[in-house]
């Protein structure tokens, strides 16, 4: 029982953390709360679905296609939408209207391109891992969780050791100082946005093999991603990962423990979070006041 809950929590947490990473990266670089993050995730899922289920290409190709399509989309959105609006608006919050508009727009595009039906692709690997009936988990879930963890590790290494990653961290720390030190702020904002969108697309591609994907998943996914970065602290990479795993764990525990009381898991999670934020407004690892 216990093992099963923990395993489910880790599996959920790995995907959640990956979603939160993209959102927090965009937030830390541009101070933009990307409302369209959930829609980007759904879009990524549909790209993989199209490549794998309709064109009959291997799953790896589908994942790559999701990554590339979303990265390009992210870069274009930053260059032609966010950059001009940020430059001209009097208040930072104006970007939220833009982000919400983009979320609607992506919803409309997804509806027109892919329809409103639930879509999925065949399992990547078959079989179920069974440890003495104490822990049961299909192999494909284990594979997806492992891939997600590998992507998280890869992302951290990239941010830590590559030149681009260093530049983006400098930008997140202090935009002005980074600019004075000769960092090409515009270029790295664009790369960062592309990277964040790419991560969302990759999770979509990974999950389409298990839970499938549909149009309605965008909004709720965004809300969950907001939760995670609130728990961990907005704009902090370690915080996003912690937030993702904590939310995954809480969901897994809640669904088992609170099952007797009806569908109250998320109510309990929300209320807990509000009490937590009242005590520690910046989340676990965030800087005070973002």
């Amino acid at each position: 029982m216990m093992e099963q809950i923990l395993a489910n929590g880790l599996y959920l947490g790995a995907q959640y953390a990956l979603i939160a990473l993209g959102l927090t990266l965009i937030f830390s670089l541009m101070n933009v709360l990307n409302f369209a993050h959930g829609q980007m995730y759904v879009f990524g899922g549909f790209v993989t679905y199209t490549v794998v289920a309709q064109l009959g290409l291997p799953f790896t190709v589908g994942l790559l296609a999701s990554a590339v399509v979303l990265a390009v989309m992210g870069a274009l959105i930053e260059r032609f939408l966010f950059r001009p609006v940020i430059a001209r608006s009097k208040r930072d919050e104006s970007t939220m209207l833009l982000a919400a508009g983009i979320a609607f727009f992506l919803d409309a595009v997804i509806l027109l391109l892919f329809g409103e039906k639930q879509r999925g692709v065949p399992k990547v690997v078959n079989g179920v891992f069974n440890w003495d009936m104490r822990l049961i988990m299909p192999y494909d879930r284990i594979l997806i969780a492992a891939l997600a963890v590998a992507l998280i590790v890869g992302f951290i290494l990239f941010m830590q050791y590559s030149r681009t990653g260093r530049a983006m961290r400098a930008l997140a720390q202090d935009r002005m100082a980074a600019q004075l030190m000769g960092v090409d702020v515009d270029r790295y904002s664009m790369i960062g946005f592309a990277l964040g969108a790419m991560l969302a697309g990759l999770v979509g591609g990974l999950l389409v093999t298990i839970t499938g994907i549909n149009l309605g998943m965008g909004g709720p996914t965004s809300v969950k991603a907001f939760l995670m970065i609130m728990i961990g602290g907005a704009g902090v990479i370690s915080g996003a990962i912690a937030g993702g795993f904590i939310l995954g764990m809480m969901e897994s525990i809640g669904l088992t423990v609170l099952a007797a009381y009806g569908d109250v898991t998320y109510l309990v999670i929300f209320v807990t979070l509000m009490i937590f934020l009242a005590i520690r407004p910046q989340g676990l690892m965030g800087k005070p006041w973002g």
Binding site: L33, L81, L97, A100, D107, I229
Partner: protein, 335 residues
């Protein structure tokens, strides 16, 4: 910084401004009913009633923007207000007209309790918490016995007669030949009063204090402004408007469900404020009219409705990032 310059002409009731207000009132109370009677587009009443009510709730959101907080939780208060009214009417037989202020006051009280801790948050943190608040309200409505879960509360009677000392002020809606017109007039009156109140607040001492909060909270606290009290006060007024609008919506649809107001609605309230312009008292009203009415008119585009709507939204943002009313800035700031 943006509002200081614009508030100066606003605070004086110049002749041109008076004419503008009169023209607005004539348009709302005479021209619109006349137009609908002539064209026979009775469905416009429902749309315009919704616009008026939504703009009341949006006025509240705008006030929280005015103290520098991004409020994406108005849906929670609209839902709460709706449930308070529905429960009082169906289970305790209270008159609709009495439940209206009660719903508003209940929401204001709840918002004080919630606001005390969460108003310490700023920027996106506050925005995200309020977003979650809408979900909390929905899930609470699903879980509580008094709200009747997912089945909601249905067949709520229409607003009854309102009379003082036997003198009928508002007739029983059920006896009216045209309750649509009655609802429209009620919503329009409420909207006019709400924006009058909002305009008074902004141009009072309270409004100036709110602006100081928007610009720099530390500085404002350091010169003796009770920022904590002010924040809660603004948030409570905002939630009052939300509850009021929610209660009337329930009276119109005669039913309420946990999903009557969802995250999407809360986001929409925020969008109405942005689109009209955060620096203008009448911004949320215009934003609501443009977005809600525009969405309604675009239904002729069928499956491309959302695409055109969101495309227009993005384009407007690119052209006028400070709201539609910023158009008038260059001409000396009319509205």
């Amino acid at each position: 910084m943006t509002d200081q310059t614009q508030s100066v002409p606003q605070s004086r009731l110049s002749p041109t401004r008076l004419v503008g207000v009169l023209a607005f009132l004539v348009a709302v109370f005479v021209l619109v009913p006349a137009f609908i009677a002539l064209t026979g587009r009775w469905d416009f009443y429902y749309t315009l009633t919704s616009v008026a009510l939504l703009s009341v709730a949006a006025a509240g959101v705008w006030l929280t923007f005015y103290i520098g907080r991004i409020n994406i939780g108005q849906g929670a208060y609209a839902l709460t207000g709706g449930y308070v009214s529905a429960i009082l009417i169906t289970q305790y037989g209270v008159s609709f007209w009495l439940t209206l202020p009660l719903a508003g006051i209940f929401c204001a009280a709840v918002s004080v309790l919630i606001g005390l801790p969460i108003l310490r948050l700023r920027g996106v943190y506050f925005a995200m918490v309020t977003l979650v608040l809408t979900e909390v309200a929905r899930l609470t409505a699903l879980a509580l016995p008094v709200t009747n879960g997912a089945k909601g509360i249905t067949s709520i009677p229409l607003p009854g007669e309102l009379s003082i000392l036997g003198l009928t002020i508002i007739p029983d809606f059920a006896t009216l030949a045209n309750p649509k017109l009655a609802f429209y007039l009620m919503a329009a009156v409420l909207m006019a009063v709400t924006y009058l109140v909002l305009w008074r607040i902004v141009n009072s001492r309270l409004g100036h204090l709110c602006r100081s909060l928007q610009q720099n909270e530390e500085l404002s606290a350091s010169i003796g402004v009770n920022t904590a009290m002010l924040r809660v006060l603004a948030y409570a007024i905002s939630s009052f408007f939300g509850g009021l609008a929610g209660a009337i919506f329930v009276a119109i649809s005669q039913s309420i469900y946990p999903s009557s107001f969802v995250v999407q609605d809360s986001v929409n309230f925020m969008l109405y404020c942005f689109l009209g312009g955060l620096g203008y008292v009448f911004g949320p009203m215009l934003g609501t009219l443009l977005l809600y009415f525009g969405w309604d008119l675009l239904s002729v585009a069928k499956q491309y409705q959302l695409l055109i709507y969101s495309g227009a939204l993005i384009a407007l943002m690119l052209v006028l990032p400070n709201g539609v009313l910023s158009l008038f800035d260059r001409k000396g700031g009319r509205k």
